[in-house]
Amino acid sequence: MSTASTSVIGQSRVAKWAVTASVVFLCLWVLVPIYLLVANTFSSPAEVNGFPKRFWPSFDTESIEFFLNFHGVGSALWNSLLVASLTMILSISVGAPAGYALSRFEFRGKGTFRVLVLMTRAFPLPLLALPMAVMFIKVGLDDTVLGLAIVHTTLALPFAVLITYSLFSGIPVELEEAAWTLGCSRFQAFIKVIFPLVLPGIAASAIFAFVVSWNEVFAAAVLTIEHRTLPAFLLQSLDDAPLHLKFAGGAVLVIPALVFIFMVRKYLFAMWGIANR
């Protein structure tokens, strides 16, 4: 049907050309800046700081080596990984049960909980870093990986709840009920039937939580001093760091995120489409 309806419209040759040109332009608009960053990263520090710039990399690894050996980068990378992994685990383990409850039960207070989750959208969440800084000092979580992971989980949790809610809703209740009638307890039915079916989706939303944390700058910069994550480290060295360090840092920040987005591309539209309604 869709192919029929588009061909019936009968676009002129010029219009078709304009569409193709727009698509190509928009692809270049997205890709060229990333290419330029990567080209910078794989050029020698002298070339990065020199003028005029070359538009293709010299495949010199000196910049990237300089960055990786720079004091604090190693631990920042490690902290980023730790915080992001913790965020991923926390937001899924706290969010998925809630998503399951929302998809499978009718109960009093369900509406209130949904409002609480949706409310987070209207709030600038990185600002949480301010009161949390005070709270964490009281409980000894200041400048810790766990403390930052908690704040990042607050960012990722609403999405984890809504995404898992839509994942569970996508699985017919009858599959679970069939398992119950065939001898499963609720827990067994979940493990044997529901879990294997939602696993890819859960993995995708876990990756999503990971990326949220990996990319977050403000809370990370406010809440950590000794245990900086990579974005916090980069932000605080913006003033004094040489260009090749900034660009290599940017590239290291971007590349894992690109890989992750590639991994979850199948779920991107389904998850966001439903989770955001």
Binding site: P172, E177, A178, W180, L182, G183, R186, Q188, V193, L197
Partner: protein
């Protein structure tokens, strides 16, 4: 022994009553069909027996065990769902074996029983496939096989054929009836399709607005509907109804004609007759044809008798057209009478 007793079972969802104190007893090895329009409570009742829904009040017994507080897994039941609910991440073999594995049956026995049930359902060549590789009809077979494999005391079926196309549905109906008869398992079968109900059931329980209005054999349901609703719900086309004025001494005036009816002390009743129980071309009752619908085996003619719709069935060779007047004679022993509450009045 697995008779099912449903005693004073009621279900409320918030303020709406899905079921009003239902009593029903299903004999061991009986095939009972719960028949009704959507929203009548038939699926709710089935799900209460299965344990997927909790009754607000009342008791459910299977055999000599009270089961209404047990989880579905402890009730000795198996269920076939409308959308089949074949697990998509398991092969057909694993689907059929699922219930046996949960019962910790050992592997050799599982192998034997899965093969046997698969052969019974003619799906032995599909055992290695996944649900996604099966047609609707095949999935249906897997769902039934999965239920039979556990050798349950009771099989519960929730509109199992309604997602199949017409031809396949008829085929499966016959096959399912013979397989279930062989297995001699007590069965509750929910459907909204009266042909399915009539053709398969030992007994039909007709549900309407959360009540069971009649539970008896298919022929009895058809011939002697307990209420006006049953008469209008069963049969295609349904029963004809005409207002009947009591002239005294058991004589009623119906559509300008007099009929012998029950001798009761009320001003009026309702006269009812099935379309095929009317002899056309004789009698005093007159009907003007409004619509003629040739159906191959016969012609269905919708007439108007004293301003009321009145359907008759005539031979396909008859030459009739819209506007014609037809003489109609209801067969005397097939006439039924209903009172103002819609209850059957015995003659």
């Amino acid at each position: 022994m697995a008779e099912i007793k449903i005693q004073e079972v009621a279900k409320q969802f918030g303020k709406t009553h899905a079921l009003h104190s239902v009593d029903l007893r299903i004999e061991d090895k009986e095939f009972l069909v719960l028949l009704g329009a959507s929203g009548c409570g038939k699926t709710t009742l089935l799900r209460i027996v299965a344990g997927l829904e909790t009754a607000t009040t009342g008791e459910v017994w299977i055999g000599d065990r009270r089961v209404d507080h047990l989880a579905p897994k402890d009730r000795g039941i198996a269920m076939v769902f409308q959308n089949y609910a074949v697990f998509p991440h398991m092969t057909v073999f694993e689907n059929i074996a699922f219930g046996l594995r949960m019962k910790k049956v050992h592997n050799a026995e599982i192998d034997k029983r899965v093969k046997r049930t698969a052969e019974l359902m003619h799906i032995e060549n599909l055992l290695a496939r996944y649900s996604g590789q099966l047609s609707g009809g095949q999935r249906q077979r897997v769902a039934v096989a999965r239920a039979l494999a556990t050798e349950p005391d009771v099989i519960l079926m929730d509109e199992p054929l309604s997602n199949l196309d017409a031809l396949l549905r008829m085929e499966m109906r016959t096959e399912l009836k013979s397989i279930l008869a062989q297995s001699q398992t007590t069965t509750i079968y929910v459907t909204h399709d009266q042909v399915e109900a009539m053709s398969m059931a030992d007994r039909i329980a007709i549900m309407h607005q959360g009540h069971i209005v009649q539970a008896t054999s298919p022929v009895e349901v058809y011939r002697n509907p307990a209420t006006r609703f049953v008469g209008s719900f069963i049969g295609n086309p349904p029963m004809n109804f005409l207002p009947a004025k009591n002239l005294g001494n058991g004589v009623f005036e119906v559509g300008g004609t007099r009929f012998k009816g029950p001798d009761v002390n009320v001003d009026s009743l309702e006269f009812a007759i099935r379309p095929e129980d009317i002899v056309v071309g004789q009698g005093e009752m007159q009907g003007r044809i409004r619509v003629v619908e040739p159906l191959g085996s016969h012609i269905q003619a919708s007439c108007e008798v004293n301003g009321t719709l009145f359907r008759v069935v005539v031979d396909s060779n008859s030459v009739i057209k819209t506007g014609d007047m037809l003489a109609l004679e209801p067969t005397a022993d097939r006439i039924r009478w209903f009172d103002a509450d819609g209850k059957l009045v015995p003659v």
